[in-house]
Symmetry: C2
Subunit: 226 residues, 2 copies
């Protein structure tokens, strides 16, 4: 055991779930042992990157932003079809950005693991959950277990992937955030599929978020902040 084994890196998207995970990590590992990484993968809502930075600052932890230009190339087939510029790939109208690709969380966590490896950080924390997102195979518990195994073998490491929200509903995630004192940071998060601030309140993401706060009996600080 060396000093570094209890450091944790949180994959912070700027949303409600990863913000809750950041406070979970601080609670478990201590503020001084937690850092965060955010991926700039060409997401449509650039505001997420600002949110992540502000949330990390609010929580008192560092935030590294790593670029990934591959999703845009994969998503739009821009490299195989010269008529499509990488930046022009059409949006889907859902929370999935134009650059969504299968297994995106595999990439995020593998890059996070590579960063963690280099910085002697053993623990990775991600906000994936199979409760409300069962349609996403890269959010499932068994996928995370398999990925942890692949990363351990591939990097010869004892990295541990933590998924504190895996089996929590949105209501339970809000309750966890309250317990962890994460509500102030929650006012800085971004959820709206339409990228609006204040949030549109009508899209599926806004509705899901509102439902979670209502079920927990807690006012959403993001709305209070407006």
């Amino acid at each position: 055991m060396n000093d570094s084994v209890d450091e944790a890196l949180v994959v912070l998207s700027g949303g409600q779930d990863s913000t809750t995970c950041l406070y979970w990590a601080i609670d478990r590992f201590g503020e001084d042992c937690v850092s965060s990484v955010t991926f700039d993968y060409g997401q449509r809502h650039r505001i997420e990157l600002d949110c992540a930075r502000r949330i990390a600052a609010e929580a008192g932890v560092s935030n590294v932003c790593l670029p990934i230009d591959t999703f845009a190339a994969l998503g739009g087939d821009a490299l195989t079809d010269a008529s499509i510029a990488v930046g022009e790939a059409a949006g889907t109208g859902t929370e999935l950005p134009a650059t969504f690709v299968a297994g995106r969380n595999l990439i995020f966590l593998t890059f996070a693991a590579a960063y963690a490896y280099r910085h002697d950080i053993r623990h990775l924390v991600t906000g994936v959950a199979q409760t409300d997102y069962s349609g996403y195979p890269d959010c499932r518990e068994e996928t995370m277990a398999a990925l942890q195994n692949a990363i351990r073998l591939g990097m010869d490491s004892d990295v541990e992937i933590h998924t504190p929200l895996m089996h929590r509903s949105k209501k339970e995630t809000v309750e966890l955030a309250v317990r962890l004192g994460a509500l102030d940071a929650m006012a800085l998060t971004h959820t709206c599929y339409n990228g609006q601030q204040p949030p549109c309140g009508r899209c599926a993401a806004c509705e899901l978020r509102a439902k979670g706060f209502a079920a927990a009996g807690v006012p959403d600080p993001l709305l209070d902040a407006q």
Copy 2:
């Protein structure tokens, strides 16, 4: 079973091993069912990208080049240390580029799998081998098996990762290349750690390559081509 299940995507680096794998895939799946992907991850020897393109053309298969800007950011810590420009990270003096990160093959294959998923390609082919590279944990057979499992779960797919060179020595790889008619393409490959063309002949990569050809009793077409 649909028409697409027997298509294969080869991760083509422009080197001897992946070129042999390209011909292995053509032999197994047929030229019309094989395509190749090359990653532009900021490698020091840009010549590799040209080699890959020329080798694919020689073999009569398509070649897609996908960018990955993340390794440079990870490798040089350029994003956490403003004094280091991404392009300036120091080289290591070995075959590892300045941008080498742990588990790089995990990333290559996961992106290849994402591309394959989008194009209904089931088979991935990579030139990793544990025979001559036992020091690289992300080249081992058990790592590849674990990664295949993680990708299958994460993408809900039945992708298959093929590693035809896994247990072959350099000599055996040369013999395989001869059997597969890959020698003409071998003249287009790039191996030299020093990025020289004609190859320096003195670096560890040139020496390993020369040893393999000598042991197989085959003249290296790359040297003949000079």
